[in-house]
């Protein structure tokens, strides 16, 4: 059957079950009461007060967890490219002879690219993630997985956990700081990563939680991000990760002149959009043009004496700096991008750690992004219907992440995509994106260095931005303009084999990852 974007989606997939085609960004949410969903039942575990949670090794913890072949194990990616734990656990499970497991991680980074070896060995059967990088992304795009991967947004992952669409049998939580009872936080220790926002949901709904730490501290460990009553076992290992790859000391602003032009345009768009006002809320990514937009926006806020209510999302130290200038009153942090943020979480009462459910889940009584005014997001590709691809790169490989892209685009009052109009000689603005992560109906404006295109659905924005000296163009014109420069490069071809499903935040299927033809 075809979904609303005209993409063929199978009704049923062996080992994944029944699939629901995407019908529009808020269609399912509007009618959700009829589905009468319930929170997933989670196994209640009780232990006698004198019991010792500390276990001497990962193997022992796994044995005691009752993990079986075919089960689902979860991880978080707060240690980003520096994470050691996921691969160490999978290695251990291999040695112990486990098979057919489902890896359910909040995302997968380059640190996890060798996971494909364990797929080949049969240890891992299914992968549910937000992102794919390096060799693993290539492996998936080459069609080497027997069961397609499922890509979820951060909000969508929280939804799938709460509804029980994905039941976590054992959650492995990398804990930069823990006590013997399993009070956990991410703000202290050699592997400090900041917020534990994604892991907090796993801890709440998993049938068993194993906390792994390299920094066992005296009881009680505070602040408490994940409380001891959700944690079954605590394991101490030597190192959770490589501090250098967990995060740089601070996120530096780009010097790339093209990114700066885009960012300045984007800040001017925000300023003139009608959403630039006292109490505005704001989210941006840590990428070049996205973060630079925050810089230009902050300068305008300072000049016009406008103070925002909150900044949210992945928080980088640059956002912390803007907060320190008094330009935002609060920061909500589901994921910290660098070490500068870690110390801010400890020092600033207005810097608040939130979980992924609170952040972006569409199936609750109100995620915080429902109140978001402006979000600035990046793109690999955007098409003339404003659909955005942030997953499949120009070589046809899955090398990106869904992240909070589609979540925030859907809810923010103003969704801005910032991207160069072409990279090397590959156009960013195209007729049809390879893979839709974020549907065009939720995207308002594209800002490039060669022009700004407004989604025709937003007549109000067209009106507000008219006559402000902004280089506004029809998106088709912009695409043609780029084509004059880049010509029409021959793109990679794909077979009909489905290597992955892109699940929209509401659980419907918006697109697929196709198998790339390699020459």
């Amino acid at each position: 059957m075809k979904n609303q974007l005209g993409i063929d989606i199978p009704e049923y997939v062996e080992n994944l079950g029944k699939l629901i085609p995407y019908k529009g960004a808020f269609k399912r949410i509007k009618n959700l009461q009829k589905e009468d969903l319930r929170l997933t039942p989670t196994k209640i575990r009780t232990y006698l007060p004198e019991r010792n949670k500390l276990v001497s090794s990962l193997e022992k913890a796994i044995e005691r967890s009752g993990l079986k072949n075919g089960d689902t194990i979860s991880f978080h990616h707060h240690l980003r490219g520096g994470d050691f734990l996921l691969m160490k656990v999978v290695e251990t499970l291999d040695k112990m002879g486990f098979k057919d497991l489902t890896i359910f991680s909040s995302s997968l980074t380059r640190a996890h690219q060798n996971l494909y070896e364990y797929v080949e060995k049969g240890v891992v059967k299914k992968i549910f993630t937000s992102g794919l990088r390096g060799e693993l992304g290539k492996f998936v795009s080459r069609g080497k997985m027997d069961i397609p991967v499922v890509i979820r947004s951060h909000g969508g992952r929280a939804r799938a956990i709460k509804t029980g669409e994905v039941k976590i049998d054992v959650a492995f939580i990398s804990a930069p700081s823990s006590d013997k009872e399993g009070n956990l936080n991410g703000v202290r220790g050699p592997s400090a990563c900041g917020s534990l926002g994604y892991a907090m949901v796993d801890a709440q709904y998993a049938n068993c939680v194993i906390a792994v730490t390299d920094n066992l501290v005296d009881y009680p460990n505070t602040p408490i991000s994940i409380p001891q009553y959700q944690v079954d076992y605590v394991v101490k290992i030597d190192r959770l990760g490589d501090p250098d790859k967990i995060g740089s000391d601070s996120t530096r602003l780009t010097n790339n002149p093209v990114d700066l032009v885009i960012a300045e345009n984007a800040a001017n768009v925000i300023y003139n959009s009608g959403y630039f006002r006292e109490g505005m809320s704001f989210q941006t990514g840590a990428g070049g043009a996205s973060l630079a937009t925050a810089k230009y926006l902050a300068d305008i806020m300072e000049e016009k004496k406008v103070i925002g209510s909150y900044a949210i999302g992945g928080i980088s130290s640059y956002i912390v700096d803007i907060y320190k200038r008094g330009l935002f009153k609060k920061m909500f942090d589901v994921q910290s991008f660098d070490k500068g943020v870690v110390s801010s979480l400890l020092e600033n009462d207005d810097h608040i750690e939130i979980n992924a459910d609170f952040y972006a889940n569409p199936f609750n009584s109100g995620a915080i992004i429902n109140n978001l005014d402006v979000v600035v997001l990046a793109a690999y590709e955007i098409d003339t219907d404003f659909n955005v691809n942030v997953l499949v790169d120009s070589h046809g490989y899955a090398q990106g992440a869904s992240g909070g892209h589609s979540d925030t685009a859907a809810t923010a009052k103003l969704t801005i995509i910032v991207a160069p109009s072409f990279r090397s000689r590959i156009p960013t603005v195209v007729n049809k994106v390879n893979t839709v992560i974020t549907p065009g109906e939720t995207v308002d404006i594209l800002v490039t260095e060669r022009g700004i295109a407004i989604n025709p659905r937003r007549k109000d924005l067209m009106e507000n931005l008219k006559g402000k000296g902004l280089p506004i163009k029809d998106i088709h014109q912009l695409r043609e303009k780029v084509e004059i420069i880049t010509n029409n490069p021959k793109m990679f071809e794909f077979t009909d084999k489905i290597c992955g499903f892109i699940e929209y935040r509401d659980g419907t299927i918006i697109d697929t990852i196709k198998q790339v033809v390699e020459k």
Partner: protein, 291 residues
């Protein structure tokens, strides 16, 4: 004569394809593709090819296209001129190390020859002599008036101080006289005067200070080496809202006074005479041209 703003002329190294691609996105009034100092000898020919092909095939938008060729006394000079004119869309050639009017003559003749060869209307391509020697400074007026093709003269601070055997400083007292001399020559010849670059791209305040100074001296614009330098310069060279309102008021009051046959026309107690009106008109023109 065409009126155009030359507040900023952005240098783009001719051997850098990435920069050549994006030359027109920063809002500079002119782009200045460089074949001279930013290109090493081993890349002179490839840079020339690259620049001429980019000018030929790339639709640059809303920007004056100029090229700094290698000096007259180098083996690259004639080929530079020939190739970039053949690309058709060139608007001006910047001639480095111009010492005297005869240097401009030589270039003008060569341009004429290649305009003809390429079926470009004679006189299309302008010349921007770059004065960067003591001799050039002394000959500034004759250089400025040496050809109808010359519609701007420029100063090269680094080479000039080197020629004088002194150091170039940030405050620039040592080139103050040369700057003034060149501005005066340009004003006398009724052409633009474009200032030298500000080398420290991280010192925004220094750039602003220097730009304010050269605007006061009478320069019409400044060469830039980094896109980040464009915006602060444009801000200084673009009339403020207050200035525009004042200019409008001056013109209106003056026109009204003329119609009423008044001998002395005043605005809020200050006399408006033709020079004041002329300055007001210039402010309005610039404000209309500027973005």
């Amino acid at each position: 004569m065409e009126i155009r703003l030359r507040r900023t002329m952005l240098y783009i190294p001719g051997n850098n394809p990435g920069m050549l691609q994006i030359a027109d996105i920063f809002g500079a009034d002119s782009v200045l593709f460089d074949l001279e100092d930013s290109v090493p000898h081993s890349e002179k020919d490839s840079a020339r090819d690259l620049v001429s092909n980019m000018i030929k095939y790339r639709a640059y938008e809303n920007i004056e296209i100029t090229v700094r060729v290698n000096p007259l006394n180098t083996p690259y000079f004639e080929d530079d001129v020939k190739e970039i004119i053949a690309a058709k869309k060139l608007q001006a050639i910047r001639l480095p190390k111009t010492n005297r009017a005869e240097d401009v003559d030589k270039l003008a003749k060569l341009i004429g020859k290649y305009e003809k060869e390429n079926e470009i209307a004679i006189g299309t391509i302008n010349i921007h002599p770059m004065i960067e020697t003591a001799l050039g400074v002394e000959n500034a007026f004759s250089i400025a008036t040496s050809s109808v093709r010359v519609n701007a003269i420029t100063i090269g601070g680094q080479d000039l101080t080197a020629d004088m055997g002194i150091a170039k400083t940030k405050s620039g007292e040592e080139i103050l006289w040369a700057r003034s001399r060149i501005v005066m020559a340009a004003k006398a010849a009724r052409i633009d005067a474009v200032d030298t670059i500000f080398a420290d791209i991280n010192d925004k305040n220094g750039l602003i200070e220097e730009t304010r100074l050269i605007k006061k001296l009478g320069f019409t614009g400044k060469a830039v080496i980094n896109p980040r330098q464009i915006e602060p310069i444009h801000k200084i060279f673009t009339p403020t809202e207050k200035e525009i309102l004042w200019a409008q008021e001056v013109i209106e009051t003056y026109d009204k006074g003329l119609k009423e046959g008044k001998g002395v026309i005043a605005l809020r107690g200050k006399m408006i005479d033709p020079p004041v009106v002329k300055r007001a008109e210039k402010i309005i023109t610039i404000s209309k041209l500027g973005k």
